[in-house]
Amino acid sequence: MPSYDSFLRHGPAVPLTICILIGLPVTGSAVAIDERAVDFNRDIRPILADKCFHCHGPDPGTRKADLRLDQESGANESVVVAGKSSESELIRRLVSTDSDEVMPPRDSGKEVTPDQIELLKRWVDGGAAWRNHWSFERPVKTPLPAVTDRSWPKNAVDNFVMEQLQRHQLTPSAEASREALARRVSFDLTGLPPTPERVRRFVNDTSPAAYEELVDELLQSKHYGERMAMGWLDLARYADSDGYQADATRQNWPWRDWVIDAYNSNMPFDQFTIEQFAGDLVQDATQEQILATCFHRNHMHNGEGGRDPEESRTEYVIDRVNTVGTVWLGLTLGCAQCHSHKYDPVSQTEYYQLNAFFNSIDESGKAGGGAAPFLKYTSPYVADGLEDSMAWLNQVESRLQKVREEELRHFDEWLAQQQERIAAAAGNYSSWKAFSATRSDTTGGTSLQQSNFVFGVSGQDPRHDDYLMTIAPQLPRVTGMRLTVLPSPDAGGNLSRFRDGHIILTNLKVRRRSADGTQERDVAISDTVATYEAAKSGRVYGPVNTVLDDDPRSGWMTTGSRADEKKVAAFVFREPIVLTDGESLVVELRQRSLRGYSNLQRFTLEFTDEAGPAAKTLGTTPLENLASGAASVSADLRKRLEVQFLADRTRMRDAQDAVDKGKRRKGVYVTAAKPQNVTVLKERNKPRDMQLLVRGVWNNKGDSVVPATPIAISSEGPAPSNRLTLAQWLVSQDNPLTARVAVNRYWQMYFGYGLVRTPGDFGTQGEPPTHPKLLDWVAAEFMESGWDVKHIQRLIVTSATYRQSSNATPRQLLEDPDNRRLARATRFRLPSWMIRDAALASSGLLSERVGGPPVYPFQPPGAWLDATMGRFRYEASVGSDLYRRSIYTFWRRSVGPTGMFDASKRRVCEVRAVRTNTPLQALTLMNDETFAEAAKMLADSAVSRHEMPRDRIRDIFERVLLRRPAEKELAVLTRQVGVHLDEYKGDGPGAAAVISVGQSVVETQDSSLAAAYTILATTILNLDEAITHE
């Protein structure tokens, strides 16, 4: 078949005609035959697989009557008489009216339709030609089909597409507009929109090579690697934490950068495979080759207490095999974990033979720090970020200094006010004040009375008791509470009636009760301090801060001090509380300790409105010192007063907060610059014995097996014996699956669906390809090109098929709603990560830095705390880290990035593109802080660069959608922005709030103008077109 080879060597121009000349008669007749002849793989195997294989298929465990219909020998020797359907048992059983004989059996729930029976008859009568399942045959290039419209095809892809269109009397759609094409190909190859300037240049470039030049430019972009890597990370179930209970943070991100690098340097797919399977086993392995093997350690790690690590280890091995099945072979191997595959020729033994390749990794099954083997790897991608973080820190530190100086100018004024307050108290100034409770209850059958502001308990001492006091402190605000536990005569002069005289307080809660009494919201306590707390470690009674959890097994205990002396504890509220009319505080003190009988007997509750250190002062507060002191303020006291003053100044708190965050961010980069512990592959010295697991249960061991690959897939070449040779087997020219499965995924990126619409299942239960010859041609091309990844991307995106418009005609929608014929490009919603990156890019916020430790973009407050039941607190990054591409977003498995809807879960390998359309997505895109900030910056730049409303609207519209708005679109937007302007002119605080979102500061002075255009920009960012691959 010289023509295909020459096609490869010389490119399409000349040999195309040769192909057509040679191919014409062949394909011409093939089309005719296709209409009549029964094709085994297309027509017959799917029926057998769906209706018969369950009992007459590859699994000996469920096989009935010792009959196999998945193999030619099984069928044709017994139940099929070729050429004679009337004599074939297969047909006789299908049409039988005897309920004992008819197949499939009635109770199986399966039914063969009359049409299907007719097909089977025709197949038998036609000679019962048997072929291997299509995907187990090597892909070969068939001659390029002849096409009537020779001007349309731009490369081989198009001939195959055109052939089908012709057969169905369809014509391809017109080419997409230049704007749409530039936008589409830029998203497809880099995951980012082009700049408006680049689109303009492309639109005006009339040279025939303009498009190819754009494609090459995009393939050379550093963002190409990021885009391709994002897909690979889904397959690799990459995340920055272990998953499961502990969900410990890991340091595998240097591997993510390795993947980006590999794509950017166009590493051939065979090498890409081999290094990730066995980079450690190649000769003179480099650090990067070892790093590559992290692919097979990206699975979840289970650190749950009480778990047998060996069970976990077994699961990891299984996860690797299933991932290999999905990513390289396109087979649902996991089905064979418990029993031989019911539909595909993979026996349970073969499944565990595949496990054997991964069974002798030098791993223990433990998680977190126990997840060796590790590679100590120093990333080359940290220096920029470190420098940036240091520059940022300098900036916020000098700002803090400046704010401090500015704020202290108001100190004397404040001091004078305080001295007035002190004077008003007439020598009786106290920072803490007690109030009468409106209710005092207990749950232990005791009675709680307040007299002279002291609470006293009476009644029989119960084992456990809870005290509930409702108090409305008459203070302008409440910043903290102080509990004083007093000795009681009823307790023999001690704090409690327990024999040692000491109290235990297991929980303390403060709640804010609404005026109507229907709500009691928790008041957050940020700090606690006590005059004495028993020194104990762990979850045993002692430290006062343990009263804040909901755990009765920990709490404040006074044992170890004198039981006849009062004890004081202070509780600082995270935010000052300003109670409105009718609101009150409910204070709950619980004693639910294990030893019991340690109840408080007498105590007081006092409140303060003073900020900062005062609220956690157990002795004399600075203002009390001031009240009792002489007229002159000592330097030391002045300093303490300054601290208290500054703690109450919002600007100062914000500036301090920025410095604290800046320091933490720098810390992240300092740590990242050191060698990271990346989980990698490494063989044990002594291999483990691999045994089949009966019913897939980890400790139910069956026969020993040795490493081997499934016979049905490819038996040519040397048999693999380790990870290296397994990888070589996967990417050998004899392997029928790997290339097909890979190019199918590429196709899916550009057309929304693969040529095989079940990208993870090329087996008999998967969908057959819509364009089998095209798939095979591209797969063969991939291998012949030396697994050149960029070559295949270029091939697809330069095809005429790809360049079609995605607009659909009513007829197309009716006859081919899923676009299986490819008479148009596919219109589909962009992945959520691309939508975010696009908003950052078009607003000018995007940081283009590649690689480095993961970052933390904006997320709604409390999302992690809430999802992880308080285990993990999320702190948004600062500086440029807020605007990094989504691939760098920290991925915690137990919660995942909140705004990335429809993203894969990164728990196990996922190949399906999920595209739902829900109200929650609408809320995300309208209200997420990143999008709000992007809108703000779009508005700011449009407003500062243009004077006329139309020009401003056009500016935003073009930046986001990369085309000029139509008149009617402009009219809608002009009207809209007018309404917003009127509103925000009358709502100064609203406008100020809209433009204070995010980290960046707008230049526009007129905040109502900036706010109105921000809402307009949000609208445009939310347009269906803005979030859609067109």
Binding site: R307, N807, P860, T868, K968
Partner: protein, 472 residues
């Protein structure tokens, strides 16, 4: 249309005919006629909705429900091998001697049925006549995450749809302003020992709109629900009107029907911004309601407040409501720790059942109370001290059912004298799941979805059946 739905229910599908039905579901036409006609059952349903009160961590059946009067006498004796019979243990207790620890709570008999309930659950005891005590539950897994995943999704490996997702997939919605499947998690002050993974209420391979939507207890029950500061309702309305006009213009150019759905979803998000806060606002509830659910019910995010919300969701036609209350994992200090969890949940659970009953909602609402496994008769730690606790136990545990066409005031199944093995009428996790689906009018064998070439179902490939003996 009816047959379309049947076809869809029976076979499940990814793309194709089923997808058309799914799109119709997805258009959010609410309670309109075309939507109703898509809602299908295999046979008449006894329950229209489910409230699943998930107690995560493994509540002890020995102290709470499975009264073994003879067990106290056996305290300190070695568990007979004939009873243990090779049961796998967690690595926490695998190496220690298997010594029996008697019940640490007293039991009282309640109501006409005379059901014995542990003293830590007096309120649940008081509604015993409304309950069905399934004492013969058993599972296959012994660690939290696999067992809970199994309990909720029918498989120990994460990634399958949860029972709530199956229910909303099968039945669709009755309310156009709220999701079909809503999850409420108790807000605790301390980090929980067993995290509650999002996949517990995930949709697995089912379309993601069937996944449970977790409502948070703060001012923003659904992430991103609140408009940014400074954006008024009027501004949002103006914006959505403009957005709709522009999207319709685009639809004329592209012909893409998906744009229609998008417009509708933006409108639904606007309605949710009102309907969700309205749902979460308990200020219209009466004082007697708060008293019924107990003092904690005034605290947003508490199990008690979530029980009130569950009732409000039932009133609004939400199909599947799932509460999660964590920290029932009492290896140590059980006598302090377990009563604490009981105090959190006892009165609100009983209050919910009474409240549903008095409002006439209990008869078609199935209430399920239970965890992922039970706790073992063998003690952990020093028995004579308050330090003692119990390890996980998969071979038997108790689950409570109420309403929704389940017989009330009965006990189903029994365990041996050690509360170790099921002695009669064992109920496998898949049996319970089949029962839940059955009460909703669905045959668990026919509620399938095609994924990776297989017709997947909640209850796995082995033969399991609804527990017909408890169905009224």
């Amino acid at each position: 249309m009816r047959s379309t739905r049947r076809h869809f229910l029976g076979r499940g599908t990814g793309i194709g005919l089923g997808a058309i039905a799914l799109n119709a579901l997805n258009t959010e036409s609410g309670v309109s006629a075309d939507r109703d006609s898509l809602i299908g059952t295999h046979f008449p349903a006894k329950a229209k909705r489910v409230i699943y009160l998930t107690q995560s961590g493994g509540p002890t059946q020995i102290e709470l429900f499975d009264w073994k009067p003879g067990l106290a006498k056996l305290e300190g004796t070695v568990l007979p091998d004939s009873i243990r019979n090779g049961q796998r243990l967690t690595s926490m207790t695998a190496s220690q001697k298997q010594i029996v620890m008697g019940p640490r709570a007293r039991f009282h008999r309640h109501g006409q049925s005379g059901a014995a309930v542990g003293e830590w659950l007096p309120h649940i005891g008081s509604v015993a006549d409304e309950l069905c005590f399934v004492k013969s539950m058993y599972t296959e897994y012994i660690n939290h995450a696999p067992a809970m995943t199994f309990m909720l999704t029918g498989n120990q490996i994460p990634g399958r749809p949860s029972v709530g997702a199956w229910a909303s997939y099968g039945l669709g919605s009755e309310n156009r302003n709220l999701p079909d499947y809503i999850v409420l998690v108790s807000k605790m002050q301390r980090p929980s020992d067993q995290p509650l993974y999002e996949y517990y209420w995930g949709s697995g391979f089912l379309p993601s709109r069937y996944q449970g939507v977790k409502f948070r207890s703060g001012s923003e029950p659904v992430l991103y629900l609140s408009d940014p500061h400074g954006v008024s309702r009027r501004t949002r309305r103006t914006m959505l009107d403009s957005l709709g006009s522009l999207n319709r213009i685009r639809q004329q150019t592209t012909g893409d029907p998906e744009i229609d759905t998008r417009i509708r979803q933006y409108e639904m998000s606007y309605r949710m911004q009102t309907s969700v806060p309205e749902l979460m606002d308990l200020s219209e509830e009466t004082e007697s309601t708060f008293r019924l659910y107990g003092p904690e019910s005034r605290r947003p995010g508490s199990y008690a407040a979530n029980c009130i919300l569950a009732r409000r969701l039932v009133e609004r036609g939400v199909r599947f409501i799932q509460l999660f209350h964590p920290d029932w994992d009492h290896h140590k200090k059980m006598t302090a720790w377990c009563p604490d969890r009981c105090r959190d949940t006892d009165q609100p659970t009983a209050g919910l059942i009474q409240d549903l009953k008095q409002r006439g909602l209990l008869e078609d609402t199935l209430v399920v109370w239970g965890g992922e496994f039970g706790r073992g008769v063998v003690g952990q730690g020093n028995f004579s001290s308050p330090e003692a606790g119990r390890d996980h136990h998969p071979r038997c545990f108790t689950v409570l059912l109420a309403g929704g066409g389940i017989k009330s005031g009965i006990t189903w199944g029994a365990t041996d004298d050690f509360s170790y093995n099921v002695a009669e009428d064992g109920v496998h996790v898949h049996d319970l799941q089949a029962t839940i689906l059955h009460q909703l009018g669905m045959d668990h064998r026919r509620l399938t979805y095609r994924f990776q070439g297989l017709d997947m179902r909640l209850t796995g490939v082995e033969a399991h059946d609804p527990v017909h003996g408890i169905i009224a």
